[in-house]
Symmetry: D2
Subunit: 337 residues, 4 copies
């Protein structure tokens, strides 16, 4: 840690800070500068107590950590890319994985029709929401357990593994019984109790980035998965909140190379949520593939005009087939399958 | 709802939209404009299905709701200010309520000393965290149930009602047994399952604003409390996430007059979290009072230099007494007690 | 325009609004809804005075425009893609254009060495700053006119057209004398006097997006170029300001498909400024190409370790060659040359 | 400066960095930590060249400055509050100054009527725009020189000093001839050429905060005024751009205590621009006064319903009188006149 003292701090006040640093288990290193003194505190910032308390001292101007706060998700801890397996599907390997399906499971017919169509077009994971977090209590909240059963049925029919959202700690076992990957949504990205509950099921966890989550905070939230003995962690970028109002969110594609640098975990991009507009999904998907995404999570609906949620951002089955065709040269250019 | 069609839409395509609007239970009203046509759809947007699906139609450019999406929290629904009672303390009345205490309950001595000191200085509610949501799994997570018991003890000794955070649906009954007001933190502000669990305990709920929550979304999250038969809702502004890095968050004091206009529920301001710096708390508190806040939520610690969390933003006991003295003329100027 | 009235507005107050709408040249269309009335005002919003004044009326809740506010930059006005020519180089055609060079012109040797190297690696436009806008008055402000002359010399030697920034209205003629494209920087993106001065030189204008500029505002700023009889407008995305601190800015690649939809003007991406880190430039460039960018603007320096400005985000000559090689398959996948 | 090296850097690579630090005039101080080494570089960061170039070195992870980058605006440089005088009016003293007037000067009658009314209600400076920066080229751009002459006439009649916006370097002399304070608008807050031109007129300069300007950048922009031998600098907060859409901008009132801590210059608050809604101006003004603002800049129009710009955010003359009456107790509570 680097502790910057205020200008004109007496040597007595400085000594007090040095003493406290030692008491907290660090080795202090005083540098007297032109205008103010700076102290380097040597020691493992992750096993010792934080020096953040020093910010409350009147003679201290700032405290800056040197080490990164995340361990298990970091590339330093695990230099190779890690892969995550959902049944036969491997995410993070040479093959780009397409996860597709409706925003919400609405009926048996809707989910089965979509499952067959997306599989035939090349998707290898089926997505679909059974429990839906909705901004307003007056909106459609999903079919719940019935939706999970329909997803299971779709898997039996198509062989596609299932990804679906976990909304409540109380549902963890139920959802894990049906799903192959548990999704933690953006609104729950710092709901640590829910993340722990998901991790403890042993199923892979796809952790969406919160609407205003810094990448460091996202990595630390992922740390809650790995530190609960679950190595199946996927990070999913789905758009951050900015001042721009043309799109619902601003998809931060630079998260791909950053996560690849900082972490070993696979990176998934959700362009449907990111843009909130089906007409931008094609272009964003190409960009994501070119930049190294391991998987795409796409909203596809047999009839977007009648969808019970997020109708504007769901691709039609035809639109999805077109997308898959147009993505091919970019997947090849990226050296993937 | 207002539906704007794209330029040069054929009359057949227009007719299809009009038909769908009728099918969904609205009365359509076509206006042919210079460049494009606009349709007004008359009907109760809250009892009918949303016309949002129309955004997926190729001939539709935009769909804009006219009615506000929140009902029970709105001032239209309840023109008078509502008040919330925690034991003998009334929030939202003529008296400005000061809720004070440490970020985390750390020990019996710490919480009792603080409780007595803040009561003597004029606080009427005691705050203190027992379950702490922490960005990193390696940080102090609170004393849990032991912390709750210490808070109960502090209440017995001082008579101050208790506010503490609820982190997990699984703890709802336990926390409600000890607390007089349940706090939903910023990270859980759209964890609707947790809000519902809090509401169902029957205790008042203080709902913090999420880091990047629009006021409309916040009001809708509050709707989850009132629509679960709990009328004890408090909104608490605690800073939003912006590009500014000088402060941890940007306290959005304009939320006070906006909430007072849109809603009947009391408004609480948390300047400690808002600024992340004790040295700004005095000024922010004065501003909050002048602008009509019903209560302040303040972090006070007998020894901020040794606090186990958020040390930099906690006031000392002396600092708190000074604050209470300096606030007096502003409380009077605001016509409050 | 759509004017929404407040609930319970009397018919007299409604009539007053209708009368004012007529007076301002629109044809009003009253729709009585469940909770409130809505008025559609038919008329050309761009030739008539805005109805925005109605927002000041106590009985009016909101005023929403229907037409887009930009004309000349819009795709509606010019359905085909437009191209911009700088000497022999055409931007916006089938060939992806690479503009490369140092952040600042520092010396004759530096700019000539870079110019030859980037041309040999495939760049077709040379960039370099002569007048530099610097956040602090104590930082290097560029070589000024001497820098412009060095750029001219580099053009004579290599044949590469020049792009450089215009900082002051007073320099417009001087800069236009040397440059083939004038760049308006992000800090001046709403300095309309400067944009007009640039447009009036007749040289093509590359308009960077302001740090917190909505796309609509950007298009309107571009309108200042086209409406001053200069058809050579390029939009350049270079990162917006968000809460994320890992990168200097957040490069908003979704601006590419959005601009392609809304406007006919070529789109340039500046990944160097966007990320502020050379190690992310490769990935961001691939994404930009895949998403349809017409040109890249890249910072390249023969010795980034000694650059006088923005050293961390400039590619070395080797790095640039590697980038050009790796981009090739993506350019092909995008159907470009 | 603090230079953090990457993990596992060889001693040869470390030595190279140490050598470069010395070459740039700093005294390096190596600290070998657990995972990586850290170098403190001692020396005056403002007179020496920045060590920022080190960020381009492959073995360097980060470079963090210790000293603040601003000098003349800082409270360290000038511990007492400074005051700025416009004719007889002193800003930054014990008296809170109210600057009021219309967004745009529209006619002789409008400006004279407003000037008399705001003076009678207690304003001591008259504001009014003659040159208006407008997002779209198709909007009213102000009366220009004619507007300046009307402002001069209003001053002759009422004795109120004038504040008006400077939009173009080319107008600096003209505007300074009529105005007592030159305003630099938010869109030009980093148009350094314009700030320098304003500073050189010798008239006081009110520098609005840019829409997404960090406080440090704002202070540095102010440095351009003081370092051009003009000590009459006022900082004016007028709202920053955030994700919230209820208000046009988010007025960041915490800027008041921060500027008071970091700088000696007077602080002005513009609640009209900040909110974009006249109905919030009252509350925001009270908050600003309570938090220590030295002056308010308020938009007042004799007939907001017919204003040519920003009608929704201008107070009526009656509204202004009411505001002045309600502010009194808060001015007293703040210990001001």
């Amino acid at each position: 840690m680097i502790i910057v003292l205020k200008p004109n701090v007496s040597s007595r006040e400085t000594a007090a800070v040095l003493k406290e640093i030692k008491r907290l288990g660090y080795r202090p290193h005083l540098m007297k500068g032109v205008a103010r003194s700076v102290i380097g505190a040597i020691g493992d910032e992750r096993s010792h107590q934080s020096l953040d308390v020093l910010r409350a001292w009147p003679q201290v101007e700032s405290v800056t950590p040197i080490q990164k706060r995340y361990k298990l998700v970091s590339r330093e801890a695990h230099p190779q890319n890690s892969t995550v397996r959902a049944r036969d599907v491997v995410i993070g390997g040479s093959r780009v994985v397409i996860m597709a399906g409706p925003c919400s499971v609405e009926s048996e017919r809707q989910i089965l029709e979509t499952a067959h169509a997306v599989r035939d077009a090349g998707a290898t994971v089926l997505r679909g929401g059974a429990f839906k977090p909705r901004t307003s209590p007056y909106e459609f909240q999903g079919l719940g357990e019935k939706g999970l059963k329909l997803l299971s049925k779709a898997r039996r029919e198509t062989g596609l593994p299932i990804i679906t959202e976990l909304l409540s700690e109380a549902h963890a076992d139920l959802v894990a019984e049906h799903a192959d990957i548990l999704q933690i949504g953006a609104r729950n990205a710092q709901n640590f109790q829910l993340i722990i509950a998901a991790a403890k099921t042993g199923k892979p966890v796809l952790l969406k980035r919160g609407l205003s989550m810094k990448i460091e905070e996202w990595l630390l939230a992922g740390e809650y998965v790995l530190s609960n003995r679950n190595s199946g962690l996927l990070f999913c970028e789905r758009g951050i909140r900015t001042f721009e109002t043309y799109t619902r969110n601003t998809l931060d594609l630079s998260a791909i190379p950053i996560l690849k640098q900082e972490s070993h975990c696979p990176v998934v991009i959700d362009p449907s949520q990111g843009a909130g507009r089906a007409d931008l999904v094609m272009s964003l998907s190409k960009g994501a593939i070119a930049m190294g995404a391991d998987a795409l999570l796409l909203e596809v609906h047999p009839n977007p005009k009648e969808a019970l949620s997020d109708s504007a951002q769901q691709l039609s089955l035809d639109g999805f087939r077109r997308l898959m065709a147009e993505l091919k040269p970019f997947i090849a250019a990226a050296g993937r399958e």
